[in-house]
Amino acid sequence: MASVKTIARQKIDVIAIRKDFPILSRTVHGKPLIYFDNGATTQKPLQVIDCIVKYYSEQNANIHRGVHTLSQEATVLYENARATVQGHIHAADASEIIFTRGTTESINMVAAAFRDTLREGDEIIVSEMEHHSNILPWQALCEERKAVLKVVSVSDAGELMMEEYKKLLSPKTRLVAVTHVSNTMGTINPVKEIIALAHGNKVPVLVDGAQAIPHMNVNVQDLDADFYCFSGHKVYASTGIGVLYGKQKWLREMPNYQVGGGTIKTVTFAKTEYAESPLRFEAGTPHIEGALGLAAALEYINAIGLENIAAYEQELLAYAEKKLSAIAGLRVIGTAREKASVLSFVIESIHPYDIGVILDQLGIAVRTGHHCTQPLMERFNCVGTVRASFAFYNTKEEIDELCKGIERAVKMLKG
């Protein structure tokens, strides 16, 4: 196992890092796995796997319930995990960190909270590059409340049309929901500016951070985000755990989402007095080992250093863009100036699905299809793309294999 302390000093030691991820040594169709589907989910380091195994081997108990030692220990671990998340995204207070099932649930919680205040004719702004998870909750809410969903367009390069956004902000706007990083194109949106503009109109902003959190340092206070959502599994932790960050002033006002065990101070059949955030929003026994694993994952990437990770991933992206652009007929979808390590492309007269099937035979995992961003695919007039999304355990040699694989696929499919 790589010593994370050593790595922090010497930037990215990819050979050592790869040893932390057991799955990277397996084969697919008899070939070494090349995993380029990190945008869908990331692989897990031993530090996370061991943390979860240790929890069930040595620490398992229900939290916030028992006076016995195990329960108290588990409660401390869970609350420490919350503090780790708080520190990681620079939230002002641990009570602003709510553990959820993932980004989708986090967004749905906020949409539910805005339900009763939304009136006919009110407007919610999203963008054309949103993942369906940051469209559907707002679309459903607008339909129900006869409100209007306004959409900020995307330029040919895959950047948000900021001038259009400014025009869409109006006294009718009740909320802006925007992604920090596009899952399909990798575009890094100027969320700080987006938030400042919204706040100038007294409009709160929810940021979908699912694709940002693995790639960059996120400071919710500096961004001044009202809500920030992300999923554990996209940042090297397990599935089923996610985070909703909300400013205290919003969380105090938010109605309950689900109620049940753990959310209360006192219960009688006449009246129930609820606990404060975050417990009020975490009904039932939470995903304890998921939270612990998330903290372990964040500690792991922090030990490597987010700047080191970002610098190395940018190097991979630049290398891949250069190599892939040499392939005849290949068009990159998303050429924003600021991009995370996501590379989406189409190849003239070849269906993305066909390329995905051939690459899979070569042991290369990419994502093909619409990436849950059908409006964006329509914008770029394509049925889907092939998406390679890179993590810090990927290598340039793997990108070479991807290029060879694409060339081979093109030859087979056009021949």
Binding site: I350, H351, D354, V357, I358, Q361, G384, M412, L413
Partner: protein, 140 residues
């Protein structure tokens, strides 16, 4: 040729290839002899649901037997459709409904039957069987 005989023939054909490339090239080749659906039938109601690529299927009765035509915008999918049609087309509704379609696993394409593959091969076979059932009354 019976359904079982065609399946056997396909299994023998594929046994000639010892690597995946040959196999996939043969699938792609199969797509070229797919009985193409008439352009007028390429409508949304003839799209097979659940495919990442588009697959249009048209079924009709000729002399008591079901005849299928199809097309796809992805060429591997087109080849897979061609194989299935080669096996099922020209048979009676009862024969089609009872076909086991074991050749798909036999030729090492079992992965295409998994739901995550989303190429809709499973849905396609299901639709062909449903069409055969629906057309049964017209075939007698």
């Amino acid at each position: 040729m019976s359904i079982a005989d065609t399946e056997k023939e396909i299994i023998e054909e594929f046994s000639l290839f010892d690597d995946w490339m040959g196999k996939y090239e043969h699938i792609i080749e199969q797509g070229k002899s797919l009985p193409l659906i008439a352009e007028k039938y390429k409508t949304d109601d003839r799209l097979i649901k659940g495919c990442q690529s588009k697959v249009w299927l048209h079924s009709e009765v000729k002399n008591g037997r079901i005849v299928y035509t199809a097309d796809s915008d992805a060429i591997i999918t087109k080849g897979l459709v061609a194989l299935v049609i080669r096996v099922l087309s020209g048979h009676t509704p009862d024969e089609i409904v009872n076909a086991k379609m074991e050749f798909i696993s036999e030729i090492g394409l079992k992965e295409h039957l998994s739901p995550t593959r989303a190429n809709g091969l499973v849905n396609m076979i299901k639709q062909m069987k449903l069409d055969a059932l629906a057309l049964k009354s017209k075939s007698v």
